[in-house]
Symmetry: C2
Subunit: 338 residues, 2 copies
């Protein structure tokens, strides 16, 4: 069998021929269903995908002449400060490339409905900031639109993704709290055992021979963080430090601790995840695992280009150290009046 | 002269005929330039506009069959929490009507360039959240796109606008601070004498026979607010209360006051303008003039409809009273640990 001529796009049929399977099996293998595929077959398909440079969602239209000159952005909620930041940078990057940005918020309708609707717009590409499953992506299978996942915790075979290593960020944050002498460190956020931030938290504790027994499932909102503060303090053997999975949760926890008459970091230290600007202005300023938003956006646009192979770019977030962890001044630095 | 047949759109030529002027003079009168128009002529043009129901930016395409099913949104910066909130609500309202939202941020390129670019997209309508001048709108004159200004301090003749009465909001906020016994109340924000929030501040002080001598020009950012705190305290006869023109400014001032060893509201009280969610979680929670975002967005979409006359909808913001003004508890409410 020969490779397809270089002047036409690689199709699913090419992959099927090279792997010696039907086109349906290629789809099942890449999308992890709906029918099962034997592991050896799946590996053969993935090898063919790699060899041919096949992209399940055709990218050839992206950025070419005659395009709509628009890209789509699916986000779980623009008013969340992290997604506002991400939306702001994506729009700027798109505009610099002569593209307009169509924003769709999946908060009310759910990601499936929004992804289906945005796929129907025939855009030059779609960036998805929601966490999605292979099943969600199946819905875009027949679309001509190329897709990049830019806020994905783990790779999905055959889909171009920007992955922020949340595990590494969480591990560093919790190790930092351990370095401050904390032994009772709670985790608040999504509580799924597969959740990377939770795993980073528990592994950092395990390395230090500390128990990972303080987990609190918390939605991504300030109100949920406020309620979480009370729940954390009512736990048996309450925490002396908290790692929050988002800045919004941390914002609520900070107010909640204060309402309980507790001081941060002296009574309960805090590190959050996202690193939005607001955390620099919190009281005290909150130490945060900071998402590499500019890099995420640049990589996502690179992946949208027609020449990029299927694959994932992995970025590591940085810990921005401020006062809420116990570093730096927790008291005012100077007084001009008294 | 007869009115034009009701089954075709009113044009600028119709207005010119009824007013007895050239079409160029209609444009000059409505756009306040580039050439001067005698006041009596201008009034005749505005009367003709009113009588004929003329809209300078043709609305007939809006929301009709064969449209692009997209609306545009021009904002000065999505990462500003107020504009993030506004963008979130506009996207939701658009999606509920089957429309996708194209967002363009004017922060880097300036409103003129962005308005020109978005006009070229042939959208069903454009909402502009920037404050614009008649001159800016001239650039969209030949576009088929209907425009609604949804964050405008004052009306522009012939342009549909949602106007939030910032003057009334500021007046109420400053009167509230006066009610708490403050006599030295500063204003920080845009310092243009025409600025509605500044006028509301100075008029509230004038009504109470208090001097309006503490004005600090401050950009809309947290960093500017942080710097403003120091400048305010260095003023001769420094303020005991501050009215900030935005939540971002207030966020910076709050941290700045704290860094100077001052307590809010006991040493310096604070009221801000916007009412974003973050202010509920500030320490102390910040009393804010709250923008009626849901009403602004609903009215803006109503004005986009083809049957709406040119005109302005005026909305009054509400004062959300929290602790930073001196109301409510400024100390923690309860302590579960000590």
């Amino acid at each position: 069998m020969t490779a397809p001529p270089s002047d036409r796009r690689v199709t699913r049929a090419d992959v099927a021929r090279l792997a010696g399977v039907s086109t349906a099996v290629v789809s099942y293998a890449l999308n992890d269903g709906p029918r099962p595929v034997a592991e050896a077959t799946k590996q053969r398909v993935l090898e063919a995908v790699r060899l041919l440079g096949y992209r399940p969602n055709a990218t050839a239209r992206a950025l070419k002449l005659g395009s709509t000159s628009q890209i789509g952005l699916v986000v779980p909620g623009v008013s969340n400060p992290f997604f506002a930041w991400l939306t702001d940078r994506i729009e700027a990057q798109a505009r610099a490339r002569g593209l307009a940005t169509v924003v769709m918020n999946s908060a009310d309708s759910g990601v499936l409905e929004v992804v289906t609707r945005i796929a129907s717009l025939q855009l030059d590409g779609v960036l998805i900031a929601n966490e999605v499953t292979r099943g969600d992506l199946l819905r875009m299978e027949n679309s001509e639109t190329s897709v990049v996942l830019l806020n994905q915790p783990t790779e999905i075979a055959g889909i171009r993704s920007v992955i922020v290593d949340r595990y590494a960020g969480a591990f560093e944050a919790v190790s930092h709290l351990i370095g401050h002498g904390h032994q009772r460190i709670a985790y608040t956020g999504p509580a799924d055992p597969e959740e990377a931030r939770r795993r980073g938290w528990s592994d950092a504790l395990a390395v230090a021979d500390l128990p990972a027994d303080l987990t609190l499932r918390t939605e991504y909102s300030r109100d949920a963080g406020l309620a979480a503060a009370t729940e954390l303090l009512e736990m048996p053997g309450p925490p002396t430090a908290v790692f929050a999975a988002s800045d919004e949760i941390a914002s609520g926890i900070l107010l909640g601790l204060h309402q309980h008459g507790l001081s941060t970091p002296d009574d309960v230290a805090l590190i959050s995840f996202d690193g939005t600007e607001e955390m620099r202005y919190a009281r005290p300023p909150v130490t945060s695992v900071t998402q590499p938003v500019d890099d995420m956006v640049r990589c996502a646009f690179d992946l949208l280009g027609p020449d990029m192979a299927v694959g994932a770019v992995r970025l590591v977030p940085q810990l921005a150290i401020r006062s809420s962890c116990g570093c730096g001044p927790s008291l005012p630095q100077k007084a001009v009046r008294s």
